[in-house]
Symmetry: C2
Subunit: 375 residues, 2 copies
């Protein structure tokens, strides 16, 4: 293997994908990063059999010149830290017969012990696949607005994922940890008339991938195989195994009827919620009380420290004057995700889930189970 | 107690000094922050008997209005987090008879349990004191350039401090952990003809204080008492106990004669040192070899991972072609502190300390003990 590549280009590629390499692994090759040079360019890959990230630097546009094809696995951390700190200009990467990777730039020569690329997990072929195309801007936003609600516990593995299913010309993403639920649709263009059944995508790689979608004008092709899913946009590719197990439906959590509906300014609610949550203690309990047609009160209390009470103006109210308690930290996450000037809260009583919707956008909704209090 | 104070002003004051309050303490009052209102303004204090930070918001310029004098201790973390998040405008802070502190702003009312201010450590009076005045800009820079070299081990407590002594019209600051030493003088104007003997100031509070010196045009008054020292600039005051115990002199570490002296571009040396250190392993050993009249090589090796070698151009060389090994991380700290376009390294042999000086500034110097290697 012999390649010449722009330091900036290589540093950017490594910055993107090296996080997928294990920091420490009983299987040393999984802490590695695979470099594969062919006449068309350089492909970098990192990950494990359940999740693989791949980035390609094409040789066409002068960023990389492949002198000799070949492949090798290099310790990800050392390579990334080194390339990031090299001066600008072309870097040469070559590989000796005994798998020593030599990196040169100006007066610098670095030699890293490589590992055989054959032992590195390969990207599985996707059989019986269906493809859906989604605009990056909408996909990135939707993942951010939904994926925060995944469960962090391994008790029910499917809840650590984001459910994805087709609904007409749209794709609906849903995440829940059993206490809160976030759901949003995105317009998607199917280029092939394949079926796209409901699947559950691991939440963490999905969030990581969404942060790497730098080209917001582009499109992501989502390819669904039998037990894996692939996201591909520009030179970046992420493929991961789907999660097995059932996924709760939002309908099960949504109350049949509501007793009150109130609309508030999102930023005013968010700022007050964050402040009142400061004194919500270990249980994070924040109480919302509808005071009048024009104001609610948020309150909290931490034993031995103190208590908080703030009023927030209401834009519109219909129905009864209720009070309900909830996890202030969960509600903050939801209000932060709402992404709309006003937000509507639908209450069905102090023991029934609260439904939260952006006031001007029907494509997303959130559900939060209340905390049962004595008061 | 009743005061009205601008949210921005109070938030800035709390941000500065609340770090001095203990995060968790077996003595609850040390996790508190003392508020003391008198007709002249509001004084905030945090710390412990060995180190106290104090900030005063004067009532004169409209930032604070004291309605009723009084003092109380409030949990530092809660107060700081709350005030930071309140909207701009005036905040009122009052105190009930049963020591509940009430904070109001717009529609918000927060109540925090206070503690009796009499139990809070008082600022000790400085007896037999001497005063020296130093320009903030020079003092801030000098502390940054020296304090990194303090010891982090409690084995010899005096080495966790910065030695400070008068030398003619100057003050010399020195720090060392036994392996490396950093020293620098600052011009100081003594307004009183007091003696200012050598003392050792705890390194951590000194560094923290230097970061709070926002007014670089101002002056700091340093008042030395029998066993405490006070730094005061503008509205900010820091007082801490001096460290007892001997402090090594730079003369003991400095070789009597040098075999070689080389001058290099500081930034080129620094960047190369950081890269080569990536492969210096757990021992952090980096080797410097004078290759010729015009170049040195820095090299390192990590077992089972790889090795590094880079050349750096020399601006000027006199003496022998030597090789010496040192802790790359310590040398990086020193070269970062040098703050000059070129740096001079004076070598006396592979077992003798290296002396490092900014090429154009006689006021500072650094000493680094080499690592003894077999090669």
């Amino acid at each position: 293997m012999f390649i010449e590549v722009e330091q900036k280009t290589l540093a950017k590629a490594l910055h993107m994908i090296s996080g997928a390499a294990a920091a420490r692994s009983p299987i040393p090759i999984l802490a590695g990063l695979k470099l594969e040079a062919d006449p068309g360019g350089l492909t970098l890959a990192a990950g494990h059999p359940g999740m693989m990230l791949q980035y390609r630097i094409p040789s066409g546009d002068g960023q990389a010149i492949v002198g000799q094809r070949g492949s090798i696995v290099v310790p990800a951390r050392y390579l990334t830290e080194l390339i990031r700190r090299l001066p600008e200009g072309f870097v040469t990467v070559s590989c000796t017969e005994d798998r020593v990777v030599v990196i040169r730039s100006g007066g610098a020569a670095y030699r890293l012990s490589g590992m055989c690329a054959d032992a590195f997990p390969a990207l599985a072929r996707l059989e019986h696949s269906a493809v859906v195309h989604m605009p990056n801007f909408a996909l990135k936003r939707a993942i951010k607005q939904v994926a925060f609600a995944v469960s962090t516990s391994d008790a029910r593995p499917s809840l650590t994922g984001v459910s994805c299913r087709s609904e007409g010309g749209q794709v609906r993403l849903t995440a829940t940890d059993g206490v809160r639920l976030a759901s949003r649709t995105i317009a998607a263009s199917k280029r092939r008339q394949d079926a796209f059944p409901a699947v559950v995508i691991p939440g963490k790689p999905l969030s990581e991938f969404s942060k790497m979608m730098h080209d917001e004008q582009g499109t992501t092709a989502v390819t669904l195989g039998k037990d894996s899913i692939r996201f591909q946009t520009g030179d970046l590719l992420m493929q991961c195994s789907l999660l097995a197990g059932g996924f709760p439906s939002a309908d099960q959590l949504t109350p049949a009827a509501f007793a009150a509906e109130l609309t508030l300014e999102t930023q005013a609610l968010l700022r007050t919620l964050v402040r009142v949550s400061l004194l919500s203690g270990d249980s994070k309990t924040v109480r919302l009380t509808v005071l009048s047609e024009s104001a609610i009160e948020l309150s909290s209390r931490t034993a031995a420290v103190g208590d908080a009470a703030e009023t927030v103006g209401i834009e519109a109210l219909s129905g009864e004057k209720l009070a309900v308690s909830f996890n202030g930290s969960h509600m903050t996450d939801i209000i932060e995700a709402v992404d709309s000037a006003c937000v509507t809260l639908k209450l069905a009583g102090k023991w029934s889930p609260i439904v939260i919707r952006p006031a001007d956008c029907p494509s997303s909704f959130y559900i939060l189970t209340p905390i049962r209090t004595r008061g």
